[in-house]
Amino acid sequence: MGIRVGIVGAGKMGVSHFAIANALPDTAVVAVCDTSHYIVSVLKKYTGVQTFTGYQEMIDEARLDAVIVATPTSTHFACARYALERDIHVFVEKPLTLSPAESRALSDFAIQRRRVNQVGFHNRFIGTFQEAQRLVRAGVLGKILNVHGTAFGQVVVKEQGRTWRASKAEGGGCLHDYASHVIDLLNFLVGPPIRVQRANLRSIFSRDVEDAVSAVFAYAEDASGILETNWSDDSYRKMTTAVTIDGSAGKLIVDRQELKVHLREPRGFEDYVEGWNTRYITALQKPVGFYLRGEEYSAQLEAFTEAIRTGNMAHENSFASAYETDRVVDLILKANNVKG
């Protein structure tokens, strides 16, 4: 018997997860819920899955092994908790919640119930970023001195509409929706900062939320970091995320497509040489069984179902690691309120 998956929220991410999960071996999406009657009725008619307008009803009735939660962030906590109480494995879209305390509680609860608990920070499944992490961990760059993480793109380049992404209370805004990706990626590469020294949240087009976020981080052992994100930047065709890491022995520049590493002197690490090294995604990305919009989206769900099958609780992107990201987001919010 395969893994029976239910989808909570049939928006852009929910439908994307639906298609990917449904194409995984021994996995089937058997139920979907969404508050929109129109979308639910279309899905019922065409896909033949059971549909619901509320998640409780779906979880109570659809005999699920796992749920994928892709609703506005403000609803994640209640929904994930409800599923975990019924011993259902949970994948939640990023960020985990709007409050570090809630994220922590969910993480503890998932561990207590021994259920797989994963968050959709998909950058961790991109080959170039994984290779960058491997180099940092192996000490190839020496002592880390400075990190610089950026994300730019054109999500909001006009006056905002009326979706949840334009509403702070529901978890909209560049910080939670966009910058969280970079914060999580920096955590993945070098670990979380110990302090946020300064932060600036700026609205450009939006009324209720920020469109750009910058922050200065302090890390252990005197390393520093800078975060810059702007989702109202139409000079970028699509979301473009990049990280630069300076170390005492070299530096690396990495984005979704390529990894450039400069080593001050030979480090004797595999075939990385002194001077510039370039590695491309074509060589670094592991293939996936079904491709929809980037290997990372498939790879994260492959990892999720694999963890369910093997009972491995030490998987990537756990609630505990997403809690660290939510904690940094919260520090940024607090630093932004400090006038000075």
């Binding site: 852009k12 439908v15 008619k45 009326r162 065709r237 390529e258 079904f290």
Partner: protein, 289 residues
């Protein structure tokens, strides 16, 4: 049945799509900022005998179409294979204004009132009607031009594939035939799965376009599965990303692809006369003129 040339010209290079380098993508966007720069390259390819342009229904494609319409005699053998939709346009809109408003924004004519009036009948027909309105909106800019094959972009093909909405493949095939006297094409990153789905949907001898390259880049199911199905399945297959976005040397990449039994065509993009000529000569060297 549409004739498909062996060599087709693609458009990623014009619109800042590069799977290996953001910097290269940006340079290309700059270089092709003016549509005249795109037309110059298209002219070079056309004058070398490459007549078919496989193009995304990007907003700027309209300007290229206007130019072709204004110089009909010059481009009388020019063939378009429109590939729809330009997904970022819709995805950004869904993030901004939500799904229903996006539909309203892009469909030609008052589709929402049609949807909710209930005049169209069953829900099935409503959604097909909606899809067809979106196709019409995308096809508007190609009016009066030769579009014998109309492709569904991989993000939509593969979404339908994952959702197992196979009947939609048939409806797309049916509608573009009826409305535009064109054949349907399907771009995918999952060719083995897609061929099974199209067979189930009743689309025979389909036109398909997939990444096909020596290193297996974005070939879900693996290189061996692709090689087998090209040889054994009845389909008209077009290889894209033969160079794996530049990860392979052109000669090596093209000799490998041209050696695949059952491969019908290769689509490639290039920004310079030299690269177009080199690629064309390599393909001619393997397949003949």
């Amino acid at each position: 049945m549409a004739t498909i040339d062996r060599i087709l010209f693609g458009d990623n290079q014009f619109f800042g799509v590069n799977h290996m380098s953001e910097e290269k993508a940006r340079q290309q966007l700059l270089r092709f900022k003016d549509t005249s720069a795109i037309i110059e390259v298209l002219d070079q390819a056309y004058d070398m005998g490459i007549r078919t342009f496989m193009c995304t229904t990007h907003d700027r494609i309209g300007e290229i179409c206007d130019h072709m319409r204004a110089h009909r005699e010059r481009y009388k053998d020019f063939v378009y294979f429109p590939c729809m939709p330009y997904a970022h346009k819709y995805a950004n809109s869904v993030s901004q204004v939500g799904m229903l408003e996006t539909i309203q924004r892009f469909a030609a004519g008052g589709v929402m009132s049609t949807l909710f009036r209930g005049a169209v009948g069953t829900l099935t027909r409503d959604v097909y009607a909606l899809m067809n309105l979106l196709i019409d909106a995308e096809m508007k800019r190609f009016e009066g031009l030769n579009t014998p094959v109309i492709f569904l972009q991989n993000v939509v093909t593969d979404l339908l594939l994952g959702l197992k909405l196979y009947p939609v493949f048939w409806e797309f095939h049916r509608y573009v035939k009826e409305r535009y006297d064109a054949e349907a094409g399907y771009i995918t990153m999952n060719l083995p799965l897609l061929l099974d789905a199209l067979a189930q949907a009743g689309v025979e001898n389909p036109i398909v376009c997939a990444n096909i390259n020596k290193i297996g880049f974005r070939m879900s199911g693996g290189v061996d599965a692709y090689r087998d199905l090209l040889r054994t399945r009845k389909c008209r297959a077009i290889a894209m990303s033969v160079l794996a976005s530049g990860a392979l040397s052109p000669r090596d990449a093209i000799e490998w692809a041209c050696g695949l039994e059952g491969l019908q065509s290769i689509v490639f993009g290039a920004s310079s006369l030299g690269n177009i000529r080199q690629t064309q000569e390599l393909i001619h060297g393997c397949w003949g003129r």
